[in-house]
Amino acid sequence: MPISIVVPQLGESVAEGTVAKWLKAEGERVRKEEPLVEIQTDKINVEIPSPGEGTLTKILVAEGTTVLVGTEIAVLAGAGEAAGAPASAPAAKTPAQAEAPRSSAATPVSPAAKMPAGEEAPRVPIAAQVSAPPPRPAPMRAPDGGGNGGGGNGGIEHNRHLSPAVRKIMREQGVTLAEVSAIPGSGVAGRVTRDDLIEYLDSRTSRPGPAAPAAVAVAPAPPAALPGFAPLAPAAAGPREEVVPFTKVRKLIAENMLRSKHSTAHTHCFDEADMSAIAQLKKEWGPKLESRGIKLTYMPFFIKASVLALREFPWVNGEVKGDSLVVKHYYNIGMAVGRDDKGLIVPNIKDCDRKGLPQIAAEVNDLASRARADRLRPDDIQGGTFSITNAGVFGAINSSPVINFPEVAILGVHKIVERPVIRDGQIVARPMMNASIGFDHRVIDGELAVKFLRRICELLERPELLWFYA
């Protein structure tokens, strides 16, 4: 599917940008995130990275040309496409395609920079729109030496004489070019000024007679979207308030959270585990792994226990597709990593059923540090099958985590706290931990969720059970 490259939003008062320099030529291969074009506005020159991998098939706007924000300036043929060249050999399967069956289309929360090309592209808040974009204004100025001679789209000629203020009102009020061209302008050379347009709009609303074209003033139907996805009015700060616009990552987190909450039958149940045995194991093995440069935390134990429980209850390691549950017989376990103001991310460790505890521990360390340094690779955040979130690192003793959609369950682990418990009729202090599971009740009945969670807790309490379950 071709990717349309448009001039991105460059700020509230920025209506247009000038194509300063193409950094790639037509026909050239472009990697994702590779600088594609420089756009200039005022005294700022912005490098626009490519939203995907592919071939730059067509440059639509020449260097030196000023166009409106949102104007399509080039077309990219996506990775693996034949790029429209007739003689091109059958495109080899790209790694991305080969991976496709295993990596789910909807990735967990991930920085836009790491989104895969393809179906997800429309959500990339950079300059890409995969499907046909909404009609946009034509370029402001023809390329140098274009000598259009008034041919082609007459609207272009007209449009170029409209000031940003006029165009802004047109956008806001849904006024078409045809309408504006019918207004007798009072400006230089008969141009339609802002005042002309406002006067016209007043008259349009006050006399709904023949002068008012049909189908005007009908607000475009908002695109079908999940509640909360609809664009809201921009926030304005009141006294003693502050507006903090969403970052790219925050937008993706918001969308993924809403999607998870709105498209699954989210519910939770809770259990607890006596962590004495694991604490002992950790105490014993921590220093040994430390000498190999591996920091042993509780997470590898949670991962290993989850894998064993998932093998016993395979439905929990699945994904809903239409009217079916796709059960996965590989175990890529995600772990939520909080990154302060940079936002949550859930990288996963691949094939945890085939790895020993030390290796999992090493990968946990590696993923966590790379997540915090913003150095995750796309592969790290794709293809997860089940996730674990540890709210205990921040001190929580219980939580009801949100499923990492499209997975169907998530394990919540928490702070280990010395609590009085009864053992053999005696009150004793034990390091206890609450565990929770968020699950999609469409496919996981309460019974299954409870049994699954109980098994995890049992494996943590009695590691010797590994002899029977592994």
């Binding site: 920025v14 320099k21 600088p35 005294k43 912005v46 340094a373 913003d374």
Partner: protein
Amino acid sequence: MSQTLSVCHLGEAPYREGLALQAAALEARAGGRAPDRLLYPDHPPVLTVGRSPSEGSVIASPEALRQAGIEVFEVARGGDVTWHGPGQLVGYLILDLDQRGRDLHRFLREIEQGLIDTLGAWGIEAGREPGRTGVWSRGEKIASIGIAVRRWVSYHGFALNVAPDLRFFDLIHPCGLRGIQMTSVAKRLGDRAPSMDEARAAVASQMARALGFTGWVREDAATLRRSLMEEPGVPRGTHAA
């Protein structure tokens, strides 16, 4: 967004090295490994041409420039031609614009404000001229701005004429504007003009405030240069010691 602006006086830096240092600082910022920064390089005389040069902006012949030891660089910032050199306070702004709403014009206005406030504190009345980015005082230009953005992190920045030899500007039509008169802080204030060190501190304070930081902290140049040399993807050998 980092709360404080990290400010570093890089010291002597040939223009080419300045570009490499900026590239490294940009990568570090984009990767979340570094804070928002204001870097002050001391450039030897150099002409730089931005992405929107106009015909004949450089008045001096290439031959004359070579003889004067002035290099010419084409750079990916906005704007036309300008001169940098001793007596001018050049500030590179390595800021994550993604965390500032990607509003480029607001960013320009904030930089101008930082410079206007600095000049105001010295008793120089300065302001904006619509459509002519930069800072102006009584119709003369006192500071220039040219920004580039990669991975939504800004680089390049501003150049405030503290006490440069203004005759260097005769080599060019600054910013491509004809008949433009450049001025400097020293020209306005004479003996009362601040030293370069004072100017660096004053600009850092006002710039941090105009850009919405709670304050600024000084970064050690040697440490910063060492850390930037370790940035991946930055060509080795481009940094002088």
